[in-house]
Symmetry: C2
Subunit: 307 residues, 2 copies
């Protein structure tokens, strides 16, 4: 433990209301969005700064709760209109989902404007938004030790030139295996990873949900097993939780050595596993560092040949 | 390395001809079957004994080749008629397959009769055959330190009482995740594992193909990552290869300590990964122990935080 305050992590992404049809429950108006999940996860380790947009319907107490957790919401713009909404239905085994509805609302006109105090952020998470907006953020950040980028099939398909410009300025690409295969136009994961790294990032992290996560960097391949949960309620936001915890851990460690990056992956997988245990951000809200440490120990043990 | 010859592993299962429609090739009359794959994998580590049936169309040189690898084929019965045949088609990404045709042929009347010399086998692999036949084998084996059992959806659905009788006499159940979920009538893997262990086995090994393998035993959970291949041609027999290598490793080690069992899983995953690199048993036929050792080192490294 160092006595200095960790560097803050700047997170740019969506804040949203989600309607979720889960095998065990149907819930509406659940506060979600990539930036929300990521910021909550980051805040376990380091201060977070959020750039996002919400509508007039977004409850002020939710923002206040984030602030109480050391999350700076000065970059959250409240615009006239309704907040971004997403509705999805999960399969009975939670392994797949379909989007039932997307309403961009105030997100349609979102232009990320960083408060001046955010411009010196050393750790930056570009959550899944239009790559042109990701580029606008990059233009406003003067020094960034670590730029981590997420994206989605929609931009890989339709906005490739802008996305490739983002990747050239990305240190760590954090996407899921389907997105990687689409980006690389290659099914074999190892070949796809090599192709993705040629687009700019020094480091690729592949999220595989219930199958764990993989890191590809100049030191080789690292594999994080999944934590075997006995309670799985809602995987929404698990990938964003993973990314937020990853950056929070790295910001707190203030180190990007191969060992620290690998420990960050294990920690991120651990925090993401908690997120699945309850609906929306509920589990993240009650999650404590000792709980994370305890489960991290269990996760590390499952690849150890001496039980 | 010990100077004594390892205990032989007795393998009971199918020998077959496979017709495979692969993304890269369509091949016919490929020598396959669970016992063939398993015996080749076992023979890297320990002598194998095979109990199976082939028809008059099965080439004698294939049996001779097995014999040259230290595989005892005295238990392979040659019956009048054609050898068991299976035809399957794989999806473009090899992640799924459909059975196009199954012809039991001589396998329809197969009754496993152990040569007297086989009855003292200490390591027994009951590959996927009718559970009633698995019971017949168990009745003929006088002392077995390790009984490992595989099965399939068909028997789980239609032959549950016989299968449960087998499981009561099984030390190590080796099945894939879908079979586990079906057997336990429970989707959550951790809960399903607990339910499966209540049926008798001391140890459950869950094969998850390109996602690795998991062990559940009294010492907890152990996870073997998949070896990230850059060449994937044909997954046929990978699960049988895994089981054969597992038992071969354990027989050679002559030890069932938690650490040895865990190292056996890593070794089995390594050998199985080679099998996918070429069609049928071709890669297993050229595979050497130094190649296995080398890749095992790489596989172990990918869960190590110090690269």
């Amino acid at each position: 433990m160092t006595s200095t305050t960790p560097s803050p992590v700047l997170i740019v992404g969506s804040m949203a209301f989600d309607d979720l049809t889960l095998p065990t429950a149907t819930v509406t108006d659940v506060v979600g969005g990539a930036a929300t999940y990521a910021a909550l996860a980051t805040s376990l380790f380091a201060p977070a700064r959020v750039v996002a947009v919400v509508g007039t319907d977004f409850p002020e107490p939710v923002l206040q709760d984030l602030q109480h957790r050391g999350i700076d919401t000065a970059g959250v713009c409240r615009a006239q209109g309704r907040t971004f909404r997403w509705a999805g239905r999960y399969s009975d085994d939670l392994s797949s989902r379909v989007t039932l509805d997307t309403q961009l609302n105030v997100f349609a006109d979102f232009r990320p404007v960083l408060p001046p105090a955010y411009r010196d952020s050393a750790f930056l998470l570009l959550a899944n938004i239009h790559p042109t907006l990701q580029l606008e953020v990059l233009d406003q950040v003067t020094v960034a030790r670590l730029v981590a980028t997420d994206t989605m099939n929609f931009w890989i398909e339709g906005e490739r030139p802008a996305l490739e410009a983002v990747l050239k300025r990305t240190h760590t690409l954090v996407i899921n295996d389907e997105e990687l295969r689409q980006l690389a136009e290659q099914h074999n994961l190892r070949k796809a990873a090599a192709a993705a790294l040629k687009l700019g990032p020094q480091r690729l992290i592949v999220k595989r949900g219930e199958y764990g996560a993989m890191l590809f960097d100049e030191h080789g391949i690292f594999f994080t097993p999944p934590y075997p949960l006995d309670r799985e309620l809602d995987p929404t936001g698990a990938g964003d939780t993973f990314a937020g915890a990853l950056l929070g851990y790295l910001a707190q460690a203030d180190d990007l050595s191969p060992r620290t990056v690998r420990r960050a992956l294990l920690t991120a997988a651990t925090v993401a596993s908690f997120n699945v245990e309850d609906i929306g951000t509920r589990r993240l809200q009650s999650l404590t560092r000792p709980e994370v440490e305890h489960r991290l120990g269990l996760l590390e043990a499952i690849t150890r040949v001496d039980p």
